[in-house]
Amino acid sequence: MSDPYTLYTILQAPRITEKATVCQETGNQLTFKVLRTANKAQIKAAVEKMFDVKVIGVQTVNVKGKTKRFGRTLGHRKDWKKAIVRLEEGQTVDFYENK
């Protein structure tokens, strides 16, 4: 699981939210939306490879998609996995760089 193609499919998007910002500021943690089947080891490898940093811990959450009603029909948003990755002290990642 270390070829670059798979790495990019594991990390799907950074989450830039109030909560994620707080995590980044207080605990040097990055938050991502990741592939639902990815495990912590893979996520760690992906982040280390992509941002050239050292990861000390990964926490994951399976987030249930919301049920949405449109008129009489019931719909369901996709479930997804959130990963919160702690970096080694002193290392940073700026999602806005090179954009």
């Binding site: 989450r15 830039i16 939210t17 109030e18 994620a20 910002t21 700026d94 999602f95 806005y96």
Partner: protein
């Protein structure tokens, strides 16, 4: 903020607005604070977006806003403080905006030249004085007759000048046919000079059914450079010769020419009054022209190239409109804009100089435009609109730009009048023909 003005060339000025690093930070904070209260981003509650995120996301936006503010605050003030008079909108280059660094905004402008008009009084002007003779009127009437001529096929007639010849022809250069050199059942009026010089002469005395070979040489300045200066052979098959029959000069012809009452005598008066009007305008143009020439000669000064380019664009647009009005598609003429501009040559620059000179003279001699004359001019302009004149007038009056150009036209006319008043004018008798000819040569 620091403002520096640099003279790049005679008319080019570069104005630099520099914000120091501290000012940049302060302004950015201010803008961010403003943004923070209004912006909504997914993932954040309104008003809770952190500075850092805002700054990263809206950098360009903020840089634009700050540049805009800087420009608004300082540009016009700088112009008035330093008495700069730009010819058009400045070209603005915005530097990059970053915390802890200076921010520069660079505006390049061209300024109007300072014009000190001289030699505009005591000019020696000659004004043409034209008597319209009976001969001149006869000539016009002859043209009217020709314009209303009928053409009748007459068998066995040998073609004369003025006749129409219906023919097929095909042209060859060096033995091979060339593009555009072939036509069938083409109607050519002899003496109309529509064809290459010499072609029509060789068709004189041709008869219906004749097969002719016409040898001509394309003129050296012919439009198609492949053919210019070459000898060509045209094989012509004459179908028929149509004799031109001029209508009698009678009341019916007068009616055709648009004179419903008074018959032939009415036609003559109409022609005379029209000629007189034309002549008056032409004479005026001639005097104007000589004034302009004298002014240009007495006042050599350079003008900013942006002004000249602007004038060229105006002339280009004007010329295209003229062609359009005549039903010619300029795009299909195969001449690109640059070639047109070359054709204009000096005239754009001269026009700009004349405009500047007239304006400066008006300024110096305190020549004012009075509203009455603007009204007159407006009446004159809208005369052609008939019943809708009032409406058009109202539209023009509401249009600031149109009124401004109208005012400047009237002002220029007043200045020209003033110059004439302060010059010695000698009358020079001239025949109508000579007037028309000289106008064609010098006409603008």
């Amino acid at each position: 903020m620091e403002v520096t003005i640099e003279e790049k060339a005679t008319f080019d000025r570069e104005i630099k607005f520099v914000l120091s690093a501290a000012e940049v930070d302060q302004r950015m904070d201010q803008e961010l604070a403003q943004l923070a209260t209004t912006v909504r981003l997914p993932g954040f509650r309104p008003g809770k977006v952190p500075r850092k995120v805002l700054e990263a996301r809206f950098k360009e936006h903020i840089s634009g806003i700050i540049a805009d503010h800087v420009f608004r605050e300082s540009y016009h003030k700088t112009l008035t403080d330093h008495e700069l008079n730009p010819v058009d909108q400045p070209k603005v280059v915005i530097g990059s905006l970053e915390r802890g660094k200076d921010f520069t905004l660079c505006a390049t402008i061209q300024v109007f030249p300072k014009v000190e008009p001289t030699g505009y009084t005591g000019l020696q002007l000659t004004q043409a004085k034209v008597e319209i003779t009976e001969d001149d009127i006869n000539k016009v009437i002859e043209e009217i007759r020709k314009g209303n001529a009928r053409f009748e096929v007459s068998a066995g007639r040998s073609a004369e000048k003025g006749d129409q010849v219906v023919m097929d022809f095909e042209g060859f250069v060096d033995g091979t046919a060339f593009a555009g050199g072939k036509a069938e059942k083409y109607v050519l009026e002899l003496g109309s000079n529509h064809f290459i010089p010499g072609f029509e002469d060789q068709l004189l005395s041709a008869k219906g059914g004749d097969n002719l070979e016409v040898k001509v040489t394309f003129p050296a300045d012919y439009g198609n450079t492949d053919l210019a200066g070459k000898e060509a052979l045209f094989q012509c098959m004459i179908h028929e010769v149509r004799a031109r029959i001029l209508p009698e000069l009678d009341d019916a012809l007068a009616k055709l020419a648009g004179v419903s009452e008074g018959g032939v005598e009415g036609l003559r008066t109409m022609v005379r009054s029209r000629l007189e009007k034309d002549v008056a305008i032409k004479i005026e143009k001639r005097v104007e022209k000589s004034i302009y020439e004298a002014l240009l000669q007495a006042n050599p000064f350079e003008i900013p190239d942006r002004l000249e380019q602007h004038q060229q664009q105006i002339m280009l647009a004007q010329m295209k409109r003229d062609y359009q009005a005549r039903g010619i598609d300029v795009a299909k003429m195969g001449i690109d804009d640059n070639q047109w501009l070359k054709l204009f040559g000096q005239s754009a620059g001269e026009q700009v100089r004349i405009d500047l000179l007239l304006a400066s003279i008006a300024d110096k001699e305190n020549i004012q435009v009075d509203d009455g004359r603007i009204d007159e001019k407006l009446d004159e302009m809208t005369m052609g609109f008939g019943e809708r004149a009032a409406e058009v007038k109202r539209m023009v009056r509401q249009n600031e730009e149109k009124m401004e150009s109208l005012r400047s036209t009237v002002l220029q006319a007043s200045v020209v009048e003033w110059i004439i008043k302060n010059s010695t004018v000698t009358q020079q008798p001239l025949s109508l023909d000579a007037l028309i000819k000289s106008n064609d040569e010098t006409g603008r």
